[in-house]
């Protein structure tokens, strides 16, 4: 591997590959992508169901075909791809250490893009008590069992979560021949918003066939060798119920794979847990960009890929003019807003009022007026008929021109 390159990309998921392809198209000579897995493509490699590519490739593909498409494109345009290569830490301002079967080394670049993706919080991170039997998965782990290694799973599954990715778990379990006995959500309503371009009828059919237990919390896992049952609490009336099953799948509850970002001293946003970025994917460290699910948990693969492309254009700009913002103003959020992203403002943003902002809320709010203020100054408000958890909403950037970059952090909140 050549130790010096123009752009080094960490992670060959949709975000990293789309960025690499765009960089080559824009004429960057040396683009290196490192991927710790034996193959490039990221999470879609294991999602052997349809639902990928509509917004970025304008057609509907299965996860593996989608991953193959990006891998082939990257090869065709001459991206320098390195698999089985793990980035293990920082060696300098724009240098990263790696380990691979060929040895260990350092890669130095003019710009670095972090696109390390996301993971679902596994059971222990959610502090679910009980025994520790076999049969507990996350969606990602389940898909590797079923699609990658063809290993046995079980017979009857309870799915924790009722959001987009939970549907992926349902499809995978059906594929593996399991019966889904229930989807659990702590919220009063499920959060299945026809995601990933899946058919509405398919979804309605699913909802008809699968009990969705709302306002329900998983309290305990039971069973000695194998999961035998779960105990749930119905928070509305305080009832507890034991549901027999041999498989539990934890879905969603994302946490960015922020190890490299955090160990490099990049400022981490308290709400997204990804690195803080401005609208141009610039992190708090000069020459270091970030894109994809690393920024804020899982969106569709297309969203990540489009972000990768957008980041690539900003990287090209940086390689050309070397400019980097010296003032960064974080955007604060107040409950029930869960997070906003981009989550810092720089002079580059103020100059681009066409930026959009994504945000999510923690709970359902009907008829919510979302507002942005800076100090006592009201900058913007917009009313949404309906806001719900696990659904990303968008704000335009018309308010940006009024922001004082040397002022207090603007606050995004819901008007009482």
């Amino acid at each position: 591997m050549t130790p010096e390159t123009d752009v080094l990309i960490v992670g060959a998921g949709p975000a990293g590959l789309a960025a690499a392809i765009e960089l080559k198209r824009q004429g960057v000579a040396n683009v290196t992508v490192v991927e710790r897995e034996p193959e490039v493509g990221g999470i879609p490699r294991f999602c052997a169901h349809t639902g990928f590519g509509l917004q970025d490739l304008h057609r509907l593909l299965s996860g593996p075909s989608y991953a193959r498409y990006y891998a082939a494109q990257a090869k065709a345009v001459g991206v320098d791809l390195h698999t089985a290569t793990t980035i293990t830490g920082w060696e300098g301002e724009r240098s990263l250490a790696y380990t691979s079967p060929d040895g260990i080394g350092t890669l130095t670049a003019k710009a670095i893009l972090l696109a390390t993706g996301v993971r679902e919080r596994p059971r222990p991170a959610r502090l679910i008590p009980g025994t520790r039997p076999h049969g507990v998965f996350t969606t990602g782990a389940l898909q590797r069992f079923v699609y990658e290694r063809h290993l046995p799973v079980g017979k009857k599954a309870v799915i924790v979560g009722a959001e987009a990715v939970s549907l992926s778990a349902v499809m995978t379990l059906r594929e593996a021949g399991l019966e889904v006995v229930a989807l659990l959500t702590e919220h009063p309503h499920h959060q299945l918003y026809f995601p990933y371009s899946l058919g509405k009828f398919w979804l309605l059919d699913l909802i008809r066939r699968t009990p969705i237990l709302t306002s329900t919390r998983l309290r305990r896992i039971m069973g000695t060798r194998r999961v035998e049952a779960v105990e749930v609490l119905h928070t509305a009336d305080g009832r507890t119920e034991t549901i027999p099953c041999d498989t539990v799948v934890f879905t969603g509850d994302w946490i960015p794979e922020n190890e490299i970002a955090r160990s490099g001293g990049l400022i981490i946003d308290r709400h997204t847990l990804g690195p803080q970025v401005d609208g141009g994917h610039r992190t708090s460290r000069k020459g270091i960009f970030a894109a994809g699910n690393l920024l804020r948990g899982a969106e569709s693969a297309a969203t990540s890929a489009l972000e990768g492309r957008a980041a690539a254009r900003e990287i090209v700009r940086f390689l050309t003019d070397g400019r980097w913002p010296d003032v960064r103003l974080p955007i604060a959020v107040e409950a029930p807003i869960a997070w906003v992203y981009p989550n810092t403002l720089t002079a580059f943003d103020i100059a681009s009022p066409r930026r959009t902002f994504d945000f999510r809320v923690q709970t359902f709010v009907e008829g919510a007026t979302v507002q942005i203020r800076q100090g006592t100054k009201h900058l913007y408000s917009r009313t949404f008929r309906h806001l719900g958890p696990n659904e990303t909403m968008h704000l335009d950037g018309r308010w940006l021109a009024q922001v004082a970059l040397d002022g207090e952090p603007p606050v995004l909140s819901v008007e009482a």
């Binding site: 079967p101 596994p122 008590p129 039997p133 782990a141 035998e228 946490i255």
Partner: protein, 490 residues
Amino acid sequence: MTQEIYDVAIIGAGVVGTAIARELSRYQLSTVLLEANPDVGQGTTKANTAIWHTGYDAKNGTLEARLLRRSRALMEKFVPEAGVPVEMLGGVLVAWTEEQRDRLPALRERAFKNGVTDVRILSPEEVYEMEPNLQEGAWGGLYVPGESIICPFTLPLAFATQAVLNGVELKVNFPVRNVHLEEKEGTTVVESEDESVRCRYLINAAGLYSDEIDGMLGHHDFTVTPRRGELIVFDKFARSLINHVILPVPTPLTKGVLISPTVYGNVLLGPTAENLDDKTNTATSEAGLQTLLEKGRAILPALLEEEVTATYAGLRAATEHSDYQIRLHADQRYVCVGGIRSTGVSSCMGIAEYVRELLEQAGVTMVPKPTFKPVKMPYIGEAGQRPYRNPAMIAENPDYGRVICHCEKVTLGEILDAIHSPVPARTLDGIRRRTRVMQGRCQGFNCRATIVDILARETGQDPKFLLAQDDKARAGVNPHPQSSRGEGAK
């Protein structure tokens, strides 16, 4: 039917049983180590706080205090030689009330009597200098430089490996169901389900079940009450919050909830202490985890900001006595090693030497072997150099550069070593304890399927069978189903 008669049979391959096996393997004896589980170190030994205690707070004059002290000297030599991960961090005991502060001089006095003479009382300022992230309000503290952290997985494996290399026979999947003496022959028959072994001398190191084995020989000197301790492991990002083992002021019942780094670079919070009647109940509880979070917040608020990596529970073999229950029954050619409650990881080598002395008392002649093969374990700590950072190892074998478990940076080379070691891993949990795979942030959610594949391929097993085996290993084998009711039976 002629059957080999072993000089010594040891029941239980926890840290205590394996240490004894290793000690005996230095002499010209034939020894067999019998373990109910598919692997060594799968009982209480794998689920504790992993502190290498000095014994500063042990009750003066007890056997426990004496063996802890003796073990210290022995382990100081063995642990580095065998490559067992340790970090000599030192402990800071924090007094959170005036009353606790007033007890510090007595604790220091007790430490001195236990031969731990380097302890020192700390002013509140000194406490915060050493541990700047602690919650405000400490009244003072006690510095115990010798309290260290150790790898509770490698330690019993190192003992077992050295024992096996020096001729001890290890029989796993051997749950002892019955023991009877053959007075005439001067032998003892130790029976499992469909197998038995004969020996001249028997050692009972069965941990939680040591009272039941003792009962098979007609003794009722003590009863083991499982005392559950729940623990929470925090993400590696929490490691920089503390520099020492943060100890509470101990009470007669428990050492209390502590916060400690682990040799894998995480931070542990725990344990709780709760008496149960089920020796298999290693489940965690909502109340236990909540208690820990509250205590953690009261000691080190920033800890709670970090992600939780794992939760688990271990069972202490508590008895009605406040000291170890180690007894020689010379007439029965039998040594009982029970009630090793909350310090066994630290006292194991002292216990092993003492058991050897008891056997000598009982008439066993100990003739040292001309050569005693050394052991060097694969290094799985965080403080030293792991294979993925070792260019020489990777150059020699590229598998040491092929990272399989991304969270803990474990390579294919290490996994293969674990499967093909003298005490081989045959279960997923066995590979985990030998390499750290699946015990990081994602808890094996990324690499578990791959590891199933590797283990199946390397051992020629059907993955389905292997997963079923693993179910068994995870649950732990209850060798005495009649004595305790598992949760599942309710």
